[in-house]
Symmetry: C2
Subunit: 327 residues, 2 copies
């Protein structure tokens, strides 16, 4: 609404001075009389000045837009990231451009498109994507051409951070470890995991084996679920099961409930992701919730910090266990 010129008029100085005072960038390095600075800030506050990002970036030949590449999964985790990004970006007056996919080819499309649009930064969350070879080169080129990048990742990948690239880590291994702890506390005697080879599985195994117990590891897939079900029915002691997603857990949950073997009694069951509706099963599913809202929020903050030459302090976010009836 109010422009720099309005603020300048009210503060009784020129637009350039107002610009220098109000820009986050370099605002320290410019020599402005303290009195002027105060007058300007006061005027800006009074008028409710909000910078016009559009004009700001036009100058740099860039567009005030953040591109976000997210997996095209249907579940609400992705929505959490969307919400986190949106909240942080909205506050700062930056709009977003989302692209949903998980294939390498489409990541390339996203990057090419992004480069063509001259936007000012991207956020990438692609846990299933190898960020090597072609993909890595695209990212490097983008940064070299003046772009900024924040990676949302689920483990420490060998990805170099610098003043144009940062990352937000959600500690997936720790999530698996939490599940292990919970099952150990429930005094289970046998332990099972159904999961692909990913950090959360390693964390679980580490937790259980660290307590001197053994784990039987099954892969994803309906056949494996079937096998697991049979093993559980043939086993007479208390069993602890960790599934690497609520989806897998629900399959097993349904099967067990169907034969009257309610999860939470002899068989303890923990899922992962705390997907929508997992709380409404009966018995309700215990699960691990990843802080994806926070990671989206932080990713945008990091990006803005980099854009405006402010420091970025990396953080590792921890999942939490949502205890319900099945474990």
């Amino acid at each position: 609404m109010a422009t720099l010129a309005d603020v300048a008029a009210l503060a009784g100085c020129s637009v350039s001075v107002v610009s220098r005072v109000l820009r986050p960038k370099d605002s320290g390095s410019d020599r402005i009389a303290p009195a002027t600075r105060d007058r300007v800030r006061e005027a800006a506050a009074k008028l409710g000045y909000r910078p016009n990002r559009t004009a700001e970036f036009l100058k740099y030949g860039r567009v005030p837009e953040i591109g976000v590449f997210l997996p095209r999964f249907d579940n609400s985790l992705i929505l959490d990231i969307v919400r986190g990004c949106s909240e942080a970006a909205r506050e700062a007056g930056f709009p977003l451009s989302f692209f949903f996919d998980q294939e390498v080819d489409n990541f390339s499309r996203f990057m090419h498109d992004t480069i063509g649009r001259k936007n000012c930064g991207i956020i990438t969350c692609a846990p299933e994507l190898e960020l090597a070879g072609e993909s890595f080169k695209l990212i490097s080129n983008y940064c070299d051409a003046g772009g900024f990048l924040v990676l949302i990742d689920n483990c420490e990948r060998e990805f170099v951070c610098n003043e144009r690239a940062a990352k937000v880590i959600v500690d997936d291994e720790y999530g698996g470890f939490l599940a292990a702890q919970r099952l150990l506390e429930s005094n289970c005697e046998k332990f099972f995991i159904q999961a692909p080879r990913r950090p959360r599985a390693y964390g679980f195994i580490k937790g259980i084996e660290g307590a001197g117990k053994e784990v039987i590891w099954l892969p994803k897939g309906d056949q494996a679920t079937e096998e697991l079900f049979t093993m559980l029915m043939n086993c007479s002691t208390t069993a602890g099961v960790f599934c690497s997603s609520d989806r897998l857990a629900i399959k097993l949950h349904s099967k067990l409930a169907g034969v009257g073997e309610m999860p939470g009694n002899r068989i303890k069951l923990i899922g992962y992701d705390d997907t929508y509706n997992s709380d409404v099963l009966s018995p309700a599913l215990t699960s691990i919730r990843q802080p994806f809202f926070e990671s989206g929020f932080l990713a945008v903050k990091y990006l803005l910090n980099m854009i405006y030459d402010q420091p970025v302090e990396p953080e590792i976010l921890k999942p939490v266990l949502i205890g319900r009836q099945t474990a």
Copy 2:
């Protein structure tokens, strides 16, 4: 990348001519020599010209951004809308600014913020929100001040469309009607519905009563679920149950399966929304899927059409039944 000036240089004419040829707005009303027009289009194509929305809107004192107000529900339906909007907006080079909530106060916040940002249009999906009084006035003011609006709605509300306001309708009543049809085809003898007073419920009732049958209607809430469960267990004939959300349906599903009364046998069960994981229950849940991706996509298309003075042909989108094992 390429600017109008680049295209002009290649086509051998001035930037204004290029602008006139390439702008969607008024492109018909300007008189350009056909030969020039072709040369310009060719040059633009060769250079891969993409308009810089930022500069385009700076001229108008607006920001090339679309604000989107969506309910803050956790389920994947909202994600569908996000994806639909994102895909259409990305194509056109417009970034988005999402705001997630369903409270009137926050809708006001959203509108005030939106007006302050001078963005070029908003999309609102707020099925639970009364768009009357204060809210309605905010919307009117926004449109009067040069903004555009598209409403994504689930029924025909009394909301006036004009050249600055359009709507996309997802026919919720029809969704309920689909459920009724399915249960009638399954030769159920008794019919139940658990739902609040919304279009999908009316559609269901209409369908069942239209076939000369009666419906027992229960409200939302755990107590009602309990009652419904008891009624179903005491009823000896085939029963058809429609729940107004998968969430409600899953509660009942779990209860029934827990006592060995598998949904899909004597008791047919249909949910609504086809939420993530409903397919993975055993027996898998039959549900109604609302075309929310499409509605988000269309909403953005409509908005862009209005912005660029192009006609908008309203459409009513229909839900579809996803038939699985429970009905």
